[in-house]
């Protein structure tokens, strides 16, 4: 089973920590909101993805299986 990252755009407040912690899968748009690679996360970035999700002050970033 693969793992994906989802952001809830209603909660996100553009802190940008996620893109710092996981540049492999998250870029920021010109206003600082994350643009997330829609593909599955590779195994070697999973730990960073979890850190990015737990670092989000708005709890807007989630890991999703499937």
């Amino acid at each position: 089973m693969s793992t994906h990252l989802d952001v809830d755009p209603r909660l996100c407040d553009a802190y940008g920590y996620c893109a710092e912690l996981l540049p492999e899968a998250i870029a920021l748009d010109e206003w600082g909101y994350p643009v997330i690679d829609p593909g599955p996360l590779s195994d070697d970035v999973l730990a960073d993805a979890r850190r990015a999700a737990s670092a989000c002050p708005m709890l807007a970033l989630r890991l999703r299986k499937g």
Binding site: P9, A14, Y33, V35
Partner: protein, 413 residues
């Protein structure tokens, strides 16, 4: 035989299933015209089959099959019905006109839907400033002895207020902002909730009376029935008309007194809709509009006159839509404002606009699919089709002039 069925004993070209008279019929007049509402609760499974066979689809814009929506809620228990009469879009008036002219039929539809899904609680949600609608519904409601009284609720007059999840949230905690959640499992008070457009419910009230074959006697095989449309722009008598699905855009304009001048484009589906070339032979149906990249939406149609600048009008609507963002999602809040900025510059005649056009496509890529509701993507589609249909106007602006001969606003904001 009720008066309506007698009228349809001979097939007539102009359909008036939902709209007739000037409104405010008493309950007695209503029952004389349509006949009484059958006892739906005693045969919900059969009613669901009839609704499915009728091919009724939602008239609020998305066109989702109504039977499937009813089924998804009827699996739950202690459901809630919300009749959606909130036309957030200032160009659309069809739901408002329906509720004023035929409030009992809408309330019949609410009652029938509540019986099908087993709801004990029903609401009709209307835009807060629509005082005539509230008066018509309240007067009609007072006359009725519905098993479950319907509560009429006023929702803030904002574009996003009528969005399904925003409406549920308004009823739950008083904030009319989209949540992105589907209410059929957990909606109002966490209960399974049917949110159905008021026009859809009015059709439903007729289907449970007269059956699927009757409903299908109008419209096309794939898209049966009639539908209300709001026709605006360069027509003699703009307003709301009831059209058989499959009616051409030209016939729709004729029903509104015909065109008053040459048109350069037609907007189909309102501000989440699509600008198309001014082909009067195109039918107002999914089948005919799909190849043109459009869909009927909530059937707001604008005949756009040759004399007005399409680019300037698009910029004005884009600015309005930016202001109507619920303010929750960054790409919508900042993206639509930036889009309106770029369009306003492009609408001025200052020579080359390659920078603005590049900026618009760059914004398009940044905003698309990044909101919790359809507001940003709907606006992007409106703008992209405008740049396509008004491309010669874009070229004219690029070389420093505008072809418009008058500057009266055509699109209501």
């Amino acid at each position: 035989m009720s008066a309506l069925l007698e009228e349809y004993a001979t097939r007539r070209p102009v359909y008036a299933r939902l709209l007739h008279g000037d409104g405010g019929p008493t309950l007695a007049e209503h029952v004389a015209r349509y006949g009484p509402l059958p006892p739906v609760a005693r045969s919900t499974a059969e009613m669901l089959r009839v609704i499915e066979a009728s091919g009724l689809t939602g008239r609020g814009g998305a066109g989702f099959p109504s039977a499937a929506k009813l089924r998804s809620v009827s699996r739950g228990s202690r459901a809630v019905v919300v009749a959606n009469g909130v036309e957030g879009e200032p160009a659309s008036a069809k739901d408002e006109v329906l509720m004023i002219r035929n409030p009992h039929l809408v309330l019949d539809g609410v009652e029938a839907a509540a019986a099908v899904v087993g709801a004990g609680e029903s609401y009709v949600a209307v835009a807060g400033e629509s005082h005539a609608v509230v008066a018509a519904l309240e007067a009609a409601s007072m006359e009725r002895a519905d098993r479950h009284p319907v509560e009429i609720v006023r929702v803030p007059d904002r574009f996003v207020s009528g969005e399904e999840s925003a409406l549920v949230r308004w009823l739950n905690d008083g904030r009319a902002a989209p949540t992105g959640r589907r209410p059929f499992e957990r909606g109002v008070h966490g209960r399974p909730t049917l949110v159905q457009n008021v026009e859809t419910l009015a059709h439903l009230a007729l289907i449970v009376r007269y059956g699927a074959a009757w409903f299908r006697s109008a419209g096309t095989a794939d898209e049966p029935g009639t539908a209300l449309a709001t026709v605006l722009g360069a027509v003699r008598t703009p307003g709301v008309v009831e059209l058989e699905i499959g009616t051409t855009l030209g016939e729709a304009f004729d029903r509104c007194g015909g065109l008053t001048e040459r048109i350069q484009a037609i907007l189909v589906g309102g501000y989440f809709g699509t600008w198309i070339a001014p082909d009067l032979e195109v039918a107002l149906s999914n089948e005919a509009l799909r190849p043109r990249g459009a869909s009927p939406g909530a059937r707001t149609i604008v005949a756009f006159p040759r004399s007005v600048c399409g680019l300037a009008e698009t910029a004005r609507v884009a600015r309005y839509m930016a202001g109507e963002s619920a303010g929750q999602c960054g790409p919508c809040v900042f993206g639509l404002a930036a889009l309106a900025d770029a369009l306003e510059v492009a609408a001025q005649c200052r020579g080359s606009q390659d920078d603005e056009l590049d900026r618009i496509s760059q914004l398009h890529a940044q905003i698309a699919r990044r909101g919790a509701c359809a507001h940003p993507d709907g606006t992007l589609g409106f703008v992209a089709s405008a740049l396509d249909v008004f491309s010669s106007e874009v070229d004219a602006h690029r070389s420093g002039h505008c072809t418009a001969t008058r500057h009266a606003p055509v699109l209501r904001t």
